[in-house]
Symmetry: C2
Subunit: 119 residues, 2 copies
Amino acid sequence: MHELFAEGQAFRANGRLWIEGPADRFLGIGRLELLEQIQTTGSISKAAKAMGMSYKKAWDLVSSMNAQARQPLVGAQVGGAHGGGAALTPAGTQAVAEFRAMQERFAQFLAAETARLYQ
Amino acid sequence: MHELFAEGQAFRANGRLWIEGPADRFLGIGRLELLEQIQTTGSISKAAKAMGMSYKKAWDLVSSMNAQARQPLVGAQVGGAHGGGAALTPAGTQAVAEFRAMQERFAQFLAAETARLYQ
DNA sequence: TACCGTTATATTGTGAAAAATATAACGCCC
DNA sequence: GGGCGTTATATTTTTCACAATATAACGGTA
């Protein structure tokens, strides 16, 4: 296929991968990174800030994930020591691990397809 | 991972796959379907109508693809018998075949990942 | 020659998604 | 008790991609 490309250009296969339920997206790369930031920072608002995302957007994403999962992925506390906070539940930790692995398999797929472009 | 989902729901892996160059997207599923419609209908405007897309959008996509490829993927004629028309070049036909195959490999990947969700 | 359907291109209108803003409630800590 | 930072939620504003519209040129054909 490389004979189709303009010469000397760096073309590559790229894409997006997600898990969707009957009504809505369940997990994608953005939601995954948000979960990881919540894991790191202990708060939805700090996670949102770290991702350059509005708090409302982050909260809506968390709400969507929690609503679709059998057990919530994120637990939150209002008020208290430093105003409250959020953390991953065991289900959330498991979801992060398994979906991160899925993303890595996808990265392998994309690398193989990119290599095939130049065969 | 299925133990994370709300019971009895139909979750599945889904995604999008494309080929990108240094500046812009080169081929995606929408561009592929547009090329196939041009192949079928012999015109950019008919292809756009068949896809529920504005002519300008379709023309911009064709222009982007032609600009990035070593040889144009679509050839167009202005004026003449029925006002003109468009057709795939040999390079365009090859691009459709190869990228369609790439999409099918991606569909296989998605099916395998969906199956894995319920392992 | 006038007409037609198309390519080619610019400009304007529009609607949906996202950000920004606002407000309330909560519970620890000084 | 008052302040603080957070969650939770609604409303307003902004942005941006896309559609819609407009216009010109082209070259067969009747």
